[in-house]
């Protein structure tokens, strides 16, 4: 019978497969050689895996080593003081059975009692929030990274804040007040809260009559400032500020954008101005800026030092 002759194409394929097989075998062989030179087990380490300190009892009687040995020729008769025998040890106390009292339930986390009244979002998770505790109208302003009682503000977002308490993160959404966006001119959703509904600000009422030029002075009506202090979102609709950093530290606030026709433009401020100080208080941190913001309603005059281009200017306002 004739032998089966293989087609040349099959021969080439078999040859190729054998070559690949040889390559694989060589690589496997080399990996075994590497394996022989490597440790087969994880190295042992003597680690005491407790996190508490180890206290040892201190033996005061033998703490200072052996006593001096007196040679026999120098023995001196000593008066031996007779010490009364020690009193018998008291009987062991009767251990009463301990009644286990169930521990009190842990208090609810403080973060659940926080209410966000206003959000100022600076972008990239930074910003500050006006918050109060439920049932308490007094508000506090905290910025990113700051801790309020047992809660730390981690990040600020346009509609909520992220807090940390006892290794648990809490997302607290804005309750009611409109969120201020950092870009002037962006539309923001507005939801007035019942608590703030009594503050009615007609849209066109902040008109130019509240800012008047009398001679060389710029007179600002007090109710205009009061409205701004009660409604911070109205400020951020007209003006956008950002930190002015010098060597990584806040050195005033730069006016990023001013809305045309707004009260801030009428007050003589321009985009690009850097606010350095207000009433001789230098603006070196958000806290200082917020303190001035809180007090501005009670001021009778406002003097601002600004840098415009390369020029240092002082702008003064009288508040009536």
């Amino acid at each position: 019978m004739g032998s089966i002759k293989l087609n040349t194409t099959y021969k080439n394929e078999i040859k190729l497969a054998l070559q690949i097989g040889a390559v694989l075998f060589v690589s496997y062989f080399l990996s075994i050689v590497v394996f022989l030179f490597l440790p087969k087990e994880k190295p042992q380490s003597q680690i005491i895996t407790t996190s508490t300190l180890e206290y040892k009892s201190f033996d005061f009687q033998n703490a200072f080593g052996s006593q001096e040995v007196v040679p026999s020729s120098v023995v001196v008769a000593r008066k031996v003081k007779v010490v009364a025998p020690p009193p018998p040890p008291p009987p062991p106390p009767v251990i009463e059975p301990v009644v286990e009292i169930a521990p009190p339930p842990p208090p609810p986390p403080f973060a659940l009692s926080i209410n966000i009244v206003a959000i100022f979002d600076m972008g990239k998770g930074r910003g500050f929030l006006t918050i109060n505790e439920r049932g308490n109208k007094a508000t506090t302003i905290i910025s990113t990274g700051e801790t309020y009682k047992s809660v730390k503000l981690l990040k600020v977002f346009p509609k909520y804040g992220l807090f940390l308490e006892n290794d648990t993160e809490y997302k607290i959404e804005l309750n009611s007040v409109a969120v201020a966006d950092r870009q002037v001119g962006n539309k923001t959703t507005q939801q007035t809260s019942p608590a703030q509904s009594q503050i009615v600000a007609p849209t066109n009422s902040l008109g130019s009559e509240r800012i008047q030029q009398i001679g060389n002075k710029t007179v600002v009506k007090k109710d205009l400032l009061e409205e701004y202090t009660k409604n911070s979102d109205k400020i951020w609709r007209d003006i956008s500020l950002k930190e002015n950093l010098t060597n990584g530290k806040i050195d005033g606030f730069k006016i990023d954008k001013i809305k045309r026709g707004s009260n801030f433009e009428k007050l003589g401020l321009q985009s690009g101005d850097i606010l350095k100080s207000v009433n001789n208080v230098e603006l070196k941190s958000y806290d200082e800026a917020m303190n001035i913001y809180k007090k501005v309603g009670n001021m009778s005059a406002l003097n601002m030092k600004i840098i415009r281009g390369n020029e240092i200017m002082e702008i003064g306002y009288e508040i009536k």
Partner: protein
């Protein structure tokens, strides 16, 4: 003639690639890890309580505690290594160090810059990026900490240079 030579050279390149990929796949990665653990022990660093998962082109360590001089310095949720001949990556997730949580830290290497590792740090408290030069054994990091972290580790950050972008440039030679 030329096409035959091209075919032959492509064939040999193919064999080399097959060899390299199969060698990486067959390599005993766990034992390499034990080898480096031995080296780290000389520098008083050790890993404990970890789970090891090894694959053909990847290797990962899950839920490890890192000890430095017998103190539990930090915990790592996972360290994952991938190596594909021309590109390699080590990704560590959820590192907890002294109350500071680093969500992700990534070291990547590519054949385009063979003597340099790129580093990226992502976390709510600390962001950063940098490089590690293998030849010069030099770290160059640009770190941007949160206010609280900058205050707490002020002594460390003040060793570096503060850039205009508010980042701390830290250089460290191993």
């Amino acid at each position: 003639m030329k096409s035959l030579m091209m075919q032959r050279s492509l064939k040999y390149v193919g064999f080399v690639l097959i060899f390299l990929f199969s060698f990486i796949a067959f390599l005993p990665k766990e034992n390499i890890y034990f080898y480096y653990l031995e080296k780290l022990q000389h520098k008083n660093i050790s890993f404990q309580n970890e789970e090891i998962n090894s694959g053909a082109f990847n290797f990962s360590i899950v839920n490890g505690d890192v000890f430095y001089k017998d103190i539990n310095a930090f915990k790592v949720e996972s360290i994952e290594m991938k190596y594909l001949l021309v590109y390699g990556k080590i990704v560590t997730s959820n590192i907890l160090f002294d109350g500071l949580k680093i969500d992700d830290m990534e070291f990547s290497w590519s054949i385009l810059s063979p003597f340099q590792f790129d580093i990226i740090l992502l976390s709510s408290d600390l962001n950063g990026y940098g490089t590690y030069d293998i030849q010069e054994r030099n770290f160059e990091l640009y770190l941007k900490p949160s206010m609280a972290v900058a205050k707490k580790y002020g002594a460390f950050f003040n060793q570096g240079e503060l850039t205009k972008d508010g980042e701390y440039k830290i250089e460290y030679n191993l």
